[in-house]
């Protein structure tokens, strides 16, 4: 099954894959890949959590993806920059080992929502969060939550690639080092595995000690993905990861996202609706701080239930 899906990877003809991808979403994710189970890096969640709110009005996501357990749930999530409300009552379920795309016009709150999921918004002063974000059923905003631990479980890739001004090796090894892994052999193994997962190893394996800043833009972004994978996250948040890249690099990143969904739960913010259609299983449409509609990607793009969604995806505004 894995092989089948890989063979559908879009290399040149992207358009036709929209339907092919979404068809796979109704199938359970293959766990029969022998390398997966005992893999040191992969952390397949062992305790599936059935969200109690799956049937609520806004969180229609699980409905279309019956086979998927839910990794992340937000309940009535509100976010304020000072007195300006950026998110109003977002309730959404994010299925495990699936790609969830967030689309919407600029300033609609999709990036803010994404950053709520690993509490990166904590660092912005004068902001306020209300509501719940549940990761495997545990509220990440509960007092006493270890934010550092949370961010290790919920990794993040930013819009603009931001490698550290260090070697390729040190970039990837940074996360594991933070947790106290210092053995050279162990680090080497993690670095190579992460680079391999990020489809970068072949290009850099002979120059791991070169500066990361000498890589091309697309390579830098894949390095940032490798760096995020090195801490063995369960969830990967991507904030417009391909928006600053050329089409060829974008394709590579999209292929990569498609491969990564076997091991990780992915949430991706994108401006590009074709990209959302190509890589995601579930899509949420944000507009003016509200989650207008969320559903299986094919359904949202072919038969949206909301007028605003239809207007947006047909290019009438935004």
């Amino acid at each position: 099954m894995v092989m089948d899906r890989r063979s559908l990877l879009p290399n040149s003809s992207k358009k036709q894959t929209v339907t092919t991808y979404t068809m796979t979403t109704t199938e359970p994710i293959a766990m029969d890949d022998p390398t997966t189970a005992d893999d040191a890096i992969s952390r397949v969640p062992t305790v599936p959590v059935n969200p109690p709110i799956a049937q609520s009005e806004n969180s229609a996501s699980a409905e279309g993806l019956p086979s998927a357990n839910v990794k992340l749930v937000t309940r009535n999530l509100r976010f304020f920059y000072g007195s300006v409300q950026a998110l109003s009552d977002i309730s959404m379920s994010i299925p495990v080992n699936r790609v969830t795309a967030l689309i919407g016009p600029s300033g609609c709150g999709k990036s803010t929502f994404l950053r709520c999921l690993n509490r990166m918004n904590d660092m912005i002063e004068k902001t306020r969060v209300e509501g719940d974000v549940l990761l495997d059923g545990n509220d990440v905003y509960k007092p006493g939550t270890d934010v550092v631990e949370l961010r290790k479980r919920v990794g993040m890739v930013f819009q603009k690639s931001n490698p550290f001004p260090k070697s390729i090796f040190e970039n990837v090894a940074y996360g594991p080092r933070l947790t106290g892994i210092n053995g050279r052999a162990e680090l080497q193994e993690i670095v190579e595995k992460s680079l391999k997962r990020a489809a970068l190893l072949d290009e850099v394996k002979d120059r791991l000690n070169d500066s990361a800043l000498r890589l091309s833009g697309g390579q830098q972004q894949r390095l940032c993905i490798a760096r995020a994978l090195a801490t063995s996250p369960e969830v990967l948040l991507m904030d417009e990861p391909a928006s600053a890249l050329d089409p060829a690099s974008t394709t590579r990143i999209e292929d990569l996202i498609f491969e990564l969904r076997e091991r990780y739960t992915i949430v991706i913010v994108t401006h590009n609706m074709q990209q959302a259609a190509r890589v995601s299983d579930q899509t949420g449409f944000f507009y003016e701080g509200q989650l207008i509609e969320v559903g299986p990607t094919r359904q949202l793009f072919t038969t949206p239930t909301e007028k605003q969604t239809e207007d947006y995806i047909t290019g009438r505004f935004g």
Binding site: K152, Y174, L178
Partner: protein, 291 residues
């Protein structure tokens, strides 16, 4: 009304433009020329007195026997002690203000204060040092009093330079580090400080070269003009190059003016060395960190 009038106006505009350019060039030249005249005069007077004995002799009433051994040693002691005191405090304060302190009225007040302190005349710090370190802490007119006072003089400079360097580190680096689960301390220690280090080092070296040339605050805390021994510890009495220079230059004998010139050459040499180091640090590390 058209032809000649227009031409005249054009010519006038061109003359004014070239006059302005000329004035600016003259101002720039003046600075350099005056500097060269000063340095030239000092060299013509002092160069003849420069030799190994001058560096290794103790001060003396006889200009031909006088040397700057104790003053040079005092200056080196002072610089070292000042660095040890002001580096951790200055860099620590800057890291706190930039990386930890929340934007608040207090922080703003702090910030304005530091900027103002950088402009306070050094003699004021000298008087403060006399009152606090020499008398209140009863440290006496010792090296440690001098170094503490000089630290006060250069702390604002170090803090401002370090803050500037920290601000030069893009936030994307901090975010990347936090997103990988780093604590604030880990982020500062492993990403922000190393990236800002060239700028910090440059600021520190320039601040120390300011300290090595200061005379006024040292006079206030009671540096001696005549110290017939090399200080062996921070509590010893001391002299320093600028003090020695001032003392010799104030004497009526022409020979003393000339050995003052020789001492100035030594001081300038030390200063140039420090500045070259600062430029080299920036150049060397600047190549490696480019965002």
């Amino acid at each position: 009304m058209t032809g000649p009038g227009l031409l005249n106006r054009q010519r006038r505009r061109r003359i004014i433009a070239s006059m302005f350019a000329f004035s600016c060039a003259a101002a720039a030249t003046l600075c350099v020329v005056v500097l060269f005249l000063l340095v030239g005069k000092i060299f013509s007077e002092g160069a003849a007195w420069l030799n190994w004995d001058f560096l290794w002799n103790l001060p003396s009433r006889h200009p031909e026997k006088a040397g700057i051994k104790t003053a040079l040693a005092g200056s080196l002691w002072l610089t070292g002690l000042t660095a040890v005191i002001s580096l951790p405090v200055g860099i620590g304060a800057a890291v706190y203000l930039e990386e930890y302190a929340a934007v608040s009225r207090w922080k703003k007040l702090f910030q304005i204060n530091i900027a103002n302190l950088a402009g306070v005349p050094s003699i004021v710090y000298g008087i403060l040092g006399l009152a606090v370190f020499v008398q209140l802490f009863t440290l006496g007119s010792s090296l440690i009093s001098g170094a503490l006072t000089l630290s006060l003089v250069i702390l604002p400079i170090i803090i401002l330079a370090t803050q500037e360097a920290l601000r030069g580190v893009p936030d994307s680096i901090r975010h990347a580090s936090y997103a990988l689960g780093a604590t604030r301390w880990q982020t500062v220690r492993h990403q922000v400080l190393p990236a800002a280090m060239p700028g910090i080092m440059t600021g520190v070296i320039l601040a120390l070269s300011r300290a090595i040339g200061e005379a006024a605050p040292l006079v206030a805390v009671g540096a001696m003009a005549y110290v017939p021994f090399v200080p062996s510890g921070p509590t010893d009495q001391f002299s320093a190059l600028p003090i020695q220079i001032f003392n010799w230059a104030a004497r009526p004998k022409a020979e003393f003016h000339q050995i003052a010139g020789a001492a100035i050459i030594v001081l300038l040499f030390v200063l140039i060395c420090m500045n070259v180091t600062a430029v080299a640090v920036r150049h060397f590390y600047g190549k490696r960190v480019r965002w």
